[in-house]
Amino acid sequence: MVHLYALTEHPANLPHVRGIGATPLASAALGAIEAIFSEIDGDSAEPTESAILAHAHVVDEVARINDAVLPARLARPYENELALLAAVRDRDVQFRAALDRVRGCVEMGVRVLRKTNGNEADTPSGSQYMRSRLTSVKLAETVADELDEAVSGLARDALRGVTGTRELVLTASYLLAREDGGSFRAAVETVASDRPDLSYVCVGPWPAYSFALVDGGAS
């Protein structure tokens, strides 16, 4: 079975690390696209902690030495290399566009948390719950707009996840040039200083997982 780690551009730099189950990495090119994969046992395709860590480590290393990288989601393996390349061929144009979008970029995330005092009622009534949820969603949209504006000079793309929950106000992901991480953190700190009731946590940088979604996830 063949497990895919990432798509990158041909000619790819192959990192000197091993994949899931300590299998050696290999690559195969299809026109301008190169797939980084390894041959694994069917059994090692389960999403165990060691498989997840090995997959992420390979993606990190591929992204460290290649400019344009689409991290693959940990998914069921392909029957063989031909089946993998056939799947790449089917969406070749979309993958090339996605590689162009993430070239030279990293992803950084912001998690915005509400500072709770722990005294909220545990079991609000239905209408209280709906009111508080609506307030949370409105707050999340406002906070996301403020963040987007603060990093507009740096972010090439953005995604937001509004959970509308009491503790977690917002999860946002930004695509930025590799060298802009420091400026990004500074911009987020400025926004955070105007919102003492909320905690802002910057996460990343990591390869552009959220912006590799070709099915319209990254609009």
Binding site: L4, L7, P47, E49, I52, L53, H55, A56, V59, L70, P71, A72, R73, L74, A75, R76, L84, A87, V88, D90, R91, F95, A98, G109, R111, L113, G118, G161, T163, T165, E167, L168, T171, V203, W206, Y209, S210, A212, L213, V214, D215
Partner: protein, 64 residues
């Protein structure tokens, strides 16, 4: 950082990583993703963090 909060940071970092690897990233064909996909793991991770921070604070208060 105390050992407890370092361990928590590790837990949350791991949850963030699991979320990326299982829920984000490119898929070549839509039908091959694993069944845990689309669970909001970042939220699950933060719940874990918040619950554990509460426990830690209580432990530290009890110890002092």
């Amino acid at each position: 950082m105390t050992n407890g909060s370092t361990a928590l940071q590790h837990e949350v970092t791991l949850v963030e990583l699991v979320d990326r690897v299982l829920n984000k990233g490119v898929t070549l064909t839509g039908d091959i993703t694993l069944s845990v996909a689309n669970v909001d793991l970042v939220y699950v991770g933060l719940r874990l963090l918040l619950a554990s921070v509460g426990t830690l604070e209580r432990l530290e208060a009890d110890a002092s």
